[in-house]
Amino acid sequence: MRKFLLICFVVLIALTTLAKEKIIVNSYMSDPAPRKAFAELVKIFEQKYPDYEVVINTFAHEDFKTLLRTWLAAPKGTADVVTWFAGERMRYFAEMGLITPLEEIFQTTKWEDYFPASFKSTCSYNDKIYFIPQSWYWWGVYYRKSVFDKFGIREPRTWDEFLNVCETLKRNGVVPIAIGTKFPWTAAGWFDILNLRINGLEYHINLTAGKVPYNDPKLLKVFEYWRQLIDKGYLLPNHAAYEWQEGATFLFRGQAGMYYMGQFIKDVAPSEVKDDLDFFRFPIIDPSVPLYEETPIDGFMIPANAPNKKGAIVFLKFIASKEAQEKFAKDLGRLAANVEVTPPDDHAKKGLEMIVASSGVAQFYDRDTNPEMAEVGMNAFIEFMQNPGKVSSILDRLEQERKRIYSK
């Protein structure tokens, strides 16, 4: 008996000294492709840092959004690293002190050694970095090259040209603009880009920060332009019945001509259409307004209650590295946040060039805006799309909501 206990003791000692340090990563990458890419990435990390063992807990995207709060608010943390979105959605937690500043990662290096300087503000709160970007993508007007060729259409550059393209498509029995608003964020894309083209980035940032009234006459102009498309019947009929992917099938089948959407539209395109898909920069409305685009950034944060912060820092340092970023971007055709990584294909190269030539970028309406405001705002956009005549009463109501939400 004593011998047995002794053996147990020795084994226990040996195990504790040999045991690898655990890093627990909670991830929303539940789709097959990103999930696989991330698992492979973690394998590479474990080979490079044999002292660590990484456990990935994957959750469905929508579940993750609600669960994250529980993890962050729990007195005893369980996750060391979590996936999330840059911008207001990250700041929401930073403001409450629920996530850790990541200064430690940049002790010997600078932010600019890894990432574009323009990303810094959207990953920071009160001048401290809280977020490590991994990949990002752009929004553009997607179309099928073969459909444009068939009707002799060239990529429009101005709003008038854009309306002409819509008219040509409509005359030929093709729905000019596809959209699916069952989940209302697709409409927020339109709101964002129209506001960026008409009122510019600074105004847009102030608006999404809750500093501009929603019934501001300048904002009304956005809806006047939007209304031109609605009144002329250029949008996909009954769009509120479709999810964004269902809206995209009209584009893929050639029944609709254009779709203002993020790069991830390629993820859902059938292989025979994928190479036929191309995009152009959203047309210019006011030539005096510089070009701004939407570029949501995805990445990681460390909860303030993480049990293994040291390990989490090591892991995020690896995530920031060229090697890790290159692998992930290549697997998914996205753009890596790391400046040293070149775009993985021609399509990504074109996207990158568009963004580099821009004067500034926004994240996205529901990433830049307080979550509650975003919910009422996006539903109001859908209401406007169905009842464009009610625009002023809709905006007055939004203004009331803004006052209530930001007065907290």
Partner: protein, 290 residues
């Protein structure tokens, strides 16, 4: 003797304990949260009746409540008579009645999520079976955007829910019909009562207990409607098909307004409780009579 009195309570102890943890305690907690402003993370702030005052002026909550009433009316006025008709038909022993019964009963075997998904396809505006049918027989004007027109979307959802609710009511009545005494019906036949008279004066009064259960269950089901709405429209477009449970979910788990969400839950709880008490009183009265 004393021991015998104790036994039922011992058996009840375990379920009661679980019931307290999973049902009673959360109900009280919801009541407490409904008087606070809380985002689920930082400290709760007591705000008294502010959430309830806000509910009164919240158009979308009013709309959700109105939609719940539409659900209730639809459930009671449609599923009860239709369920009863089906039950009367199924009670006859015509050839193939078993297959017919299984077919009507089939939707009961599906979960609301599956039903919601199926009906989303059935009501799809371009290629859905309903609109395709209307177009094929030349009734283009009847091919409607069932799930995206704010004026009709709630009725479309109720129709989908009825698909499952009617067979459920049918089962309740079928069970009730088993309790209608044969002798009574035969006596009525001997007395020369016609089929309609037999139905109105013999069978229907005997179905009273089943009727009370069916109405109560339908009202409660209509008040807790959530799954179909969540799957088919998420309350959209712009809250037009929202119901209380759905609006509560959006406020609490999407907008991080736990206190406001809880106050919606409290209102819903109060309304439901009213109907449950009415039902229980009815059952108790009946038990006393027996």
């Amino acid at each position: 003797m004393k021991r015998n009195k104790l036994t039922p309570y011992l058996f009840l102890a375990a379920p009661l304990c679980m019931y307290s943890i999973w049902v009673i305690y959360p109900i009280f907690q919801t009541f407490i949260v409904s008087f606070t402003k809380w985002d689920g993370m930082t400290k709760m702030k007591f705000v008294g009746l502010e959430n309830f005052q806000r509910l009164i002026t919240d158009n979308y909550f009013g709309l959700s409540l109105l939609n719940n009433i539409k659900w209730m009316v639809g459930f009671v006025l449609l599923s009860i008579p239709l369920g009863l008709i089906f039950a009367m038909l199924m009670d006859q022993k015509f050839p193939g009645h078993k297959i017919f019964k299984s077919l009507v009963y089939l939707p009961m075997a599906l979960s609301f999520v599956v039903i919601g998904q199926i009906w989303s396809w059935v009501l799809e505006p371009t290629g859905g079976i309903v609109n395709t049918f209307f177009r094929s027989i030349g009734l283009e004007q009847l091919a409607k955007p069932w799930l995206s027109d704010p004026k009709i979307v709630t009725y479309s959802l109720i129709a989908a829910a009825l698909w499952r609710q009617i067979p459920y009511v049918m089962i309740l009545f079928l069970a009730g019909l088993k309790n209608v005494s044969r002798e009574l019906v035969e006596a009525a036949i001997v007395d020369g009562a016609k089929a309609t008279q037999r139905f109105w004066y013999v069978i229907l009064p005997a179905l009273r207990p089943a009727m009370v259960i069916a109405i109560t269950v339908n009202i409660i089901d209509s008040l807790r409607a959530f799954d179909i709405v969540f799957v088919m429209t998420r309350g959209g477009p712009f809250y037009s098909s929202s119901v209380m449970a759905n609006y509560m979910y959006v406020q609490a788990f999407h907008n991080y307004r736990m206190g406001y969400g809880a106050s919606i839950a409290v209102v819903q709880f109060g309304i439901t409780l009213g109907f449950i008490i009415m039902y229980l009183l009815n059952v108790l009265k009946k038990e006393e009579r027996e």
